[in-house]
Symmetry: C2
Subunit: 135 residues, 2 copies
């Protein structure tokens, strides 16, 4: 069985600055990264508490983003992310188990990424890092 | 400022066995704990990937649970959990910042637990462990 490593939880927010004011300003999390994703028409931030390996990704998307529709109540959980070392095997394994790819695969030269859904409809990201660096 | 440590993400599912078949059976996560919570009319499981400190809590509730209404699409993100060492200070700090307690505090002798909401309405659990043991 291919190895899947759970690496972060991605939530979706309506205002990234306002969300960071809460998670960083009020809860004291450290901002590790903040980056615009032009192709997604979105922006995300990675935050962690001091002394914890638990990672939260905070995602914001334009209403006309190609990867996310307008924000409605209930869109708060964006996705759970799993890193793999054997991308094709992992997707085959999931498809055979009844969880085919619902978005992707996307290959930007650095990451290979695809999404499947869990039995409750939760988006699960599966990705492989092609270069040595990266999360 | 009181210290808040992000410790796990809690998702909500409609069928715990079916969810574990996905996260444990298909994605290979390890089941660390599974427990019924009689007072909540629910049951939860804690799962982690081998070699990762990232923790996922999978929650299931009866439709008449006192802590959760019927499952509708969009209920997938149950809560994000932060552990604190100074519970009262932490709640004061949050209330002053505009995030008052919306459920709790609950004190079962072992944990003190309360919930606030982030700016997008995401439930944030704040808890203190009263005894040495515990997650």
């Amino acid at each position: 069985m291919p190895e899947f490593k759970f690496v972060y939880t991605g939530i979706r927010v309506r205002d990234l600055d306002r969300a960071l004011q809460f998670y960083v300003g009020i809860l004291g999390m450290k901002l590790r990264k903040r980056e615009k994703e032009l192709e997604n028409r979105g922006e995300f931030a990675i935050v962690e508490s001091e002394g914890s390996d638990q990672t939260l990704e905070i995602n914001w998307y334009e209403d006309d983003s190609p990867v996310a529709g307008p924000y409605r109540e209930g869109e708060e959980l964006d996705h759970l992310a799993f890193r793999v070392d054997a991308f094709d095997d992992a997707l085959d394994h999931l498809a055979r188990a009844g969880h085919p790819v619902v978005m992707g695969p996307i290959d930007d030269g650095k990451y290979r990424v695809a999404y499947v859904k869990d039995p409750d409809g939760i988006w699960v990201e599966v990705y492989e890092v092609r270069e040595a660096a990266g999360r």
